[in-house]
């Protein structure tokens, strides 16, 4: 008993405690620094619930009339932008993903260059991409499609490269031993192994793109965002509500669709 009393127990060693303390301290410092420098206008904050309530009452009831006249065609355009953008992405992401996979192209300058392109693609938000493409192609769905594609390439390419790097080497070596050309190795060795992952990634990105394409219209890149922007600019809050309801419904349907297709094919 007395021997037991002498032993102390602490959850962490002193070094561990120091490390944890450092992490906590870093978090707290970051938060305090942010709060102190960010402009918080208390009057606005006190006002916020009231303003929110006001906004919501103006939104109710949603303007159903607005759907057939403006929303429907914009919605169809949005879906086309998302889908076409995803297809373009696949076309561009496959070569980049292959170049980025270290087991396929065993030459690091190429890997790094491909990685850099992929990182640049996904670092820039789709809304920013849309801005750029509106400047290039002018307002409209073309800019939106390009923006969706540009943003998604990095995402799909990265995941595809990771899938390629996880493939088994056995079939590849067998093909190589048989003297197959590199095109055949890619098509017969790697493709069958990554095919399920590839379609899974494509579906996943399409789902995200449906959401993203709904906002591109805010900077003039076509789709349902244009209808939203118009309604907001003219303060037709009941129309805004109708657009939001539509977007919500489409997003939910897209998600259900994707999960169902996933179950079927994977």
């Amino acid at each position: 008993m007395s021997a037991a009393l002498d032993r102390e127990w602490t959850r962490f060693t002193p070094a561990e405690r120091m490390a944890r303390f450092a992490v906590y301290l870093a978090c707290v410092v970051a938060i305090v620094w942010s709060i102190r420098t960010i402009e918080i206008i208390p009057e606005f904050l006190y006002d916020a619930p009231e303003q929110m309530a006001d906004l919501l009452t103006r939104m109710w009831p949603p303007d159903v009339e607005y759907y057939p006249t403006d929303i429907h065609s914009a919605l169809v355009e949005t879906l086309h932008i998302a889908t076409l953008g995803t297809i373009l992405t696949l076309v561009a992401a496959v070569p980049l993903g292959v170049l980025a996979a270290r087991n396929i192209v065993p030459w690091w300058p190429v890997n790094s260059a491909a990685q850099l392109l992929l990182v640049a693609s996904r670092s820039v938000n789709s809304l920013v991409w849309a801005l750029l493409f509106v400047a290039v192609f002018g307002p409209g769905a073309l800019a939106g499609t390009m923006a969706i594609a540009a943003r998604s390439i990095g995402f799909v390419g990265k995941l595809l490269a990771e899938a390629l790097e996880e493939t088994h080497n056995g079939p590849i070596e067998a093909l190589r031993a048989a003297g197959a050309p590199w095109g055949a190795i890619l098509l017969k060795g790697y493709w069958p192994q990554v095919q399920p992952a590839f379609w899974g990634i494509a579906l996943f990105r399409w789902d995200i793109n449906v959401r993203e394409s709904a906002i591109l219209g805010l900077v003039g890149a076509g789709g349902i965002g244009v209808a939203l922007d118009d309604a907001i600019n003219y303060f037709y809050w009941d129309r805004v509500a109708m657009v939001l309801v539509t977007v919500f419904a489409v997003v939910v349907i897209a998600e259900i669709l994707v999960t169902q297709i996933r179950k079927r094919i994977i």
């Binding site: 032993r7 127990w9 959850r11």
Partner: protein
């Protein structure tokens, strides 16, 4: 050990009366159990799988709510308790599980100390600031189960036998008035099983508390228990000393005879 030396030893008689449990209405798992347990020593409950042994044990510490019946212990009817009262009563009942049920990602010491969770305030538990006597007692118990040097190991780094030892230490950390064990040896090899039974029997005897254990292994039951209860189909069909347990009883409990020869 500090237990059982109180001036007035409390009455640790556990009495189960007319206990019925239906998970699905009209399909009782326990069909009226009446048992009065002795205030000390090990009682083994044997019987085929799915016969309600686990349910009986879980009814006693309120992990399962009985449909009807009474469970008297330490002057309380455990079957009637709810909420905070049930929680406070649970502290007095230690439990050892078949699959050890340690919190895998916590250390051995944290698992042992978790036996005190019913006693220490939440903030102390959260910050791992347990009273010194709790920590001392945990070391004492870990020594007793032979794991004194393992306090800082994570539970998922232990073998099955070692985990069950921690499970026993955790249950005894509660300073319970009753120790329950639900198939404590089913996941262990024969040698470890004997060691675990010895530990439970020895430590409980030292603390002066009764043990109720569900067990598949009839040999172990006969070796360690002072009393054997045979259950089948949600009813008690045998109740007596281990010596009195004969093949005809076993065939009544488990059904069939060919496995006995």
């Amino acid at each position: 050990m500090t237990e059982a030396t109180n001036a007035a030893t409390p009455d640790r008689t556990l009495a189960v009366r007319g206990l019925v449990k239906e998970y699905v209405r009209g399909k009782p798992v326990l069909r009226g159990i009446d048992i009065a347990f002795a205030p000390r020593g090990m009682t083994a409950i044997i019987g085929p799988s799915g016969t309600g042994k686990s349910t009986l044990i879980r009814c006693i510490n309120g992990l399962v709510r009985p449909t009807s019946g009474e469970i008297h212990f330490m002057g309380l009817d455990l079957a009637k308790l709810r909420g905070r009262d049930l929680r406070l009563a649970r502290r007095r009942v230690g439990m050892v599980f078949q699959e050890y049920n340690l919190v895998e990602r916590l250390t051995v010491m944290e698992n042992a100390l978790s036996g005190r969770l019913g006693y220490v305030p939440v903030w102390r538990a959260f910050l791992r600031k347990y009273p010194a006597e709790d920590v001392a007692r945990a070391f004492e118990l870990l020594d007793a189960v032979g794991l004194g040097d393992f306090a800082h190991r994570r539970a998922d780094a232990l073998s099955g036998g070692q985990r069950q030892r921690v499970g026993i230490a955790r249950a005894l950390m509660q300073n319970p008035d009753l120790l329950l064990a639900d198939e404590p040896t089913s996941s262990l090899d024969p040698k470890t099983s004997v060691e675990i039974m010895e530990l439970m029997d020895g430590l409980a005897a030292k603390a002066g508390i009764p043990v109720v254990v569900n067990i598949h292994n009839v040999e172990l039951a006969k070796r360690f228990a002072v009393r054997v209860i045979g259950m089948t189909g949600g009813r008690v069909v045998f109740d007596g000393k281990p010596d009195a347990l004969e093949p005809k009883h076993l065939s009544e409990i488990y059904g069939g005879e060919s496995w006995l020869t």
